[in-house]
């Protein structure tokens, strides 16, 4: 059997709460094991070499979206990134840009997503508030349900936000995650909001008309969501919409 490789990790380290600390890259070495992921390697590092190393993992199965970080220049989910994918055995880890840094590789995506949801009202707003939960449910076109699920697969990992140069330049831009979700509710026949209502939220420079189609979102989304298609759909839809406030003239 070949002797296992030694993987070299260059990891961004910074504790913003420590006034003495400044950002730096620190190098660690780990002996590779079969099937090793960045999740496994980082935990080994913390347990055996540096217990202060900060990073976020929850499901470690690629479904919760906690562990997005920039791995060798590409933002992606660390838990499902195999070290074997890097034949040179050198892995550079940086925190996702565009989010508040908690420390080292840990960023506050949760806060960002909650604020985004509040700002864009990213929840279903049905016609009737009170429904009979004891009677038969309202039928829904099976195709529509399947399509909605496709758009709902976003795990809010923040990769699209970090990969978007537009977002990096303009902090108030909603990013692909916001538009993806708006598109999802716009398509949902149960949602009472009109195109007009959506225009007020994303028909602006911080929304769909601020997107410059750089497609970092499309090229990095770990869930392969159709960002390009959905944003284009939303743009067409919004471009046809005349906002309500015009009718006063």
């Amino acid at each position: 059997m070949d002797s296992p490789r030694t993987i070299r990790f260059d990891i961004f380290r910074f504790d913003p709460q420590d006034p003495q600390d400044s950002p730096k890259m620190v190098t660690y070495e780990v002996t590779e094991a079969p099937g090793m992921t960045v999740f496994i390697a980082l935990n080994m590092l913390r347990e055996q070499q540096d217990p202060s190393l900060q990073f976020d993992f929850v499901c470690r199965a690629g479904i919760c979206g906690s562990c997005a970080m920039v791995i060798n220049g590409k933002p992606t989910l660390a838990c499902r990134t195999l070290t074997a994918n890097y034949p040179e055995g050198k892995i550079t880890l940086m925190p996702l840009p565009g989010f508040e840094l908690i420390g080292d590789l840990s960023v506050n995506t949760g806060k960002f997503m909650r604020e985004l949801a509040e700002r864009l009202q990213l929840w279903l707003q049905p016609n009737a508030d009170v429904v009979n939960i004891h009677g038969l449910e309202t039928p829904m076109d099976p195709e529509e349900a399947a399509k909605l699920y496709e758009l709902e697969r976003c795990v809010e990992c923040g990769v699209c936000v970090s990969a978007c140069a537009t977002k990096q330049m303009r902090d108030t831009f909603v990013g692909a995650v916001g538009m993806m979700k708006i598109a999802r509710f716009e398509m949902d026949s149960r949602d009472a909001r009109s195109a007009d209502d959506f225009y007020h939220v994303i028909g602006n420079q911080d929304g769909v008309f601020g997107c410059m189609t750089l497609l970092g979102c499309q090229d990095t989304c770990p869930k392969d969501l159709p960002h390009m298609q959905q944003i284009a759909y939303l743009r067409r839809k919004m471009a046809q919409t005349i906002p309500d406030s015009n009718r006063i003239i």
Partner: protein, 662 residues
């Protein structure tokens, strides 16, 4: 120390916790949720397969109702569950599904006409009714009589969690993220809230509330390999345990899921088998029909897991560097089905195994998956010992699962339990004042601060990471699928020794704010106590029931063990929990203990069983031809909040009416 006041405090922002918070907020109470992580990252999202609710829309679900769901649940629990709770649950499951549809869940819907499915390795054509078109669909899951598992492709938990969290956001319910509750504030009778530590700043904060609901999920991570998220460490159970008053129920009831991938232990959904996937051994032979000729791969989870282990022990496992495993074969479902309905499975196979499940078999092995045990509550979700302390979901032993949970009943428990208990929590909030005892708050805050000071400034030498790994290995090796007295005793002894050592933990990283090592140290001490309740409970229970399988006591023993284990920790310096037992009253059961339908029927029966059966027969004979609801009420009346009492309408009701008119 900052003190934050609210009416309803919820620990854990998974489905169950959020649902409880929503119920309070809808009643005009103030609600606040604490979470280790952003709500949408909670482990609820990992439930791929679906949730059981007897809607009966699909042709394979026709004839389903609460009665059938109830019976499946009770049988699945190996008669270890609380039957009134199982009734409450089965009755409200359809309501929860329908409510969620209105909150945005894109449930997979029935398409009228013919469709091809795989049943028992053969293609079968199902014809869905015209009237069912667009209604909520269901798939097959293990241990159920009907196709009852409602789903959204293979991301049901994800869709549900997102819909429920969105609802919580729309109601403006604050979720304090990265806050870890570490102490319950109580006076021995009443729970007043918690002391929590901010994982970012290290700040300690008191949250004072009328009611405190623990919804922190299971304790799977006391095992080395688990399908659970890494945050499912049983801290919620430890919180209750450390009060010294509240009890944990049936902690030894730990479920092993048959099909987690090897070696990392990530789950592939039961939907794989529900949709027609097969289990094969090293010769490619489909072995399950030999063991369970009737249900085959779709026998209850505990049964399939044991049969798989049995088969591997016969040398039929596939050897690998990580020990033997078996194969899950879903190639026969076809690429299209896999890429739409089982896509998460496909992604997991591609990313973690580098295989294509449409072409290759998946290496699987039974792996720790679910905690039936948890914080003991009564049917309203409240701790019988500590007023104002509630628990819901996997964290609780509300006890609808007994000693084995059916697939699709856990996701269902989160939202159904959350719906029901949420109402009781709101009732509690309306009926009780906010009790503020600052001395008590300071006292608990100081205790926690001392604990942290000692870790940081003390002279301890033990390494928290090492202790945790040692505990996890003990649980894997000695408190696994098959258990025996000798190994369990050894496990108890070793865990006690670890708990002793845990008093001497020292830290390398001395930071008071964001410090992963400190987090680990605080947790491992608590986890060890939880692990001890599992090992001690298993050691004491000298029978086999559901997922608790003793090689030295292979029979289910209703005569001596038709009861619920209760564990508490009255003396904080003790190295062992105190166990007591709560009998399950056969004379109150709607479904007296019987044969579960797997393997040999060798249960030692309870003396009351026959008597109760006779009583039931008499009651039913007396009633004559009456509505099934009347019969049920006569056998075992159960309580529910008024808003949830109405009967559930089903397609079959209207279909029959139409037939009559024609």
């Amino acid at each position: 120390m900052q003190i934050i006041y609210t009416d309803t405090l919820v620990i854990g922002a998974g489905l169950a916790g959020l649902r409880v918070a929503i119920a309070s907020k809808e009643r005009g109470l103030d609600a606040l949720v604490l979470s280790l992580i952003p709500a949408k990252r909670s482990h609820s999202a990992a439930a791929q397969g679906g949730m059981q609710a007897s809607l009966g829309n699909t042709v394979k679900g026709l004839g389903d109702d609460e009665d059938v769901h109830f019976q499946d649940t009770v049988k699945g629990s190996d008669w270890g569950c609380d039957q009134t709770v199982a009734r409450m649950f089965a009755h409200c499951a359809p309501k929860a599904v329908r409510e969620l549809a209105n909150w945005g869940v894109p449930w997979t819907r029935v398409t009228k006409g013919d469709r091809q499915v795989i049943v028992n390795a053969e293609k079968v054509t199902l014809t869905e009714a015209e009237e069912a078109h667009g209604l909520i669909n269901a798939r097959d899951f293990g241990g159920t009589k009907k196709w009852r598992t409602c789903y959204t492709a293979d991301g049901t938990g994800h869709s549900l969690l997102y819909a429920v969290d969105n609802k919580a956001i729309s109601l403006g319910i604050p979720v304090h993220e990265r806050m870890e509750a570490l102490k319950i504030i109580h006076d021995g009778k009443r729970c007043h809230g918690v002391i929590a530590r901010c994982l970012i700043t290290g700040e300690l904060r008191a949250y004072i509330a009328k009611s405190t609901t623990i919804a922190t999920g299971g304790y799977g991570r006391i095992y080395e390999v688990s399908t659970n998220a890494i945050i499912c460490e049983g801290i919620g159970q430890a919180l209750a345990l450390e009060t010294g008053v509240a009890t944990l129920g049936n902690m030894e009831a730990v479920q092993f899921h048959p099909t987690a991938i090897v070696p990392v232990g990530i789950l592939t959904t039961e939907g794989c088998r529900g949709d027609g996937g097969l289990l094969r051994d090293k010769d490619g032979y489909r072995f399950m029909p030999d063991y369970e000729p009737e249900k085959k791969e779709l026998a209850s989870r505990d049964v399939v897991s044991r049969r798989m282990t049995e088969h591997m022990r016969k040398g039929k496992g596939v050897d690998s560097p990580y020990g033997p495993h078996l194969w899950l074969d879903i190639t026969l479902l076809g690429r299209k089905h896999i890429e739409t309905n089982l896509r998460e499975v496909k992604e997991i196979c591609e990313n973690f195994l580098g295989i294509d499940p449409a072409k290759d078999w998946i290496p699987v092995r039974p792996t720790q998956h679910y905690s039936m045990g948890g914080i003991r509550t009564n049917h309203t979700g409240e701790s019988p010992q500590l007023a104002g302390l509630f628990s819901v979901g996997e964290a609780a032993c509300w006890d609808m699962h007994g000693f084995n949970r059916l697939g699709g009943n856990s996701l269902a428990e989160t939202v159904v339990g959350g719906m029901i208990i949420g109402k009781y929590v709101a009732d509690y909030g309306e009926q009780h004042p906010l009790d503020i005892n600052t001395a008590l708050i300071e006292q608990f805050g100081a205790t926690l601060k001392t604990e942290i000071d000692q870790l940081i400034e003390g002279t301890g030498t033990e390494n928290a990471f090492d202790l945790k790994l040692a505990m996890q290995k003990i649980m894997m090796d000695r408190v696994g699928i098959f258990r025996n007295g000798a190994e369990l005793q050894q496990a108890v002894d070793e865990l006690s020794a670890l708990l002793e050592r845990a008093k001497n933990i020292g830290l390398n990283c001395k930071k008071r704010h964001a410090n992963p090592e400190l987090v680990e140290a605080l947790r491992v001490k608590r986890m060890l106590k939880v692990a001890l309740t599992v090992a001690c409970g298993a050691n004491a229970r000298t029978e086999s029931r559901g997922a608790h399988s003793r090689e030295d006591y292979p029979q289910r023993n209703d005569k001596d063990w038709l009861n619920r284990t209760l564990a508490s920790w009255p003396d904080e310096n003790s190295l062992l929990p105190t166990l007591s037992y709560e009998a399950l009253d056969v004379m109150q059961m709607e479904l007296p203990p019987g044969y579960r339908g797997y393997g040999v029927n060798n249960a030692i029966s309870h003396p009351d069983t026959e008597k109760r059966q006779q009583q039931i027969d008499d009651i039913l004979a007396q009633l004559g031809e009456v509505d099934r609801h009347v019969k049920q009420a006569a056998l075992m009346p159960f309580e529910l909040p008024a808003a949830l009492r109405p009967h559930n309408e089903r397609l079959s009701d209207t279909l029959v009416t139409r037939g009559d008119k024609a």
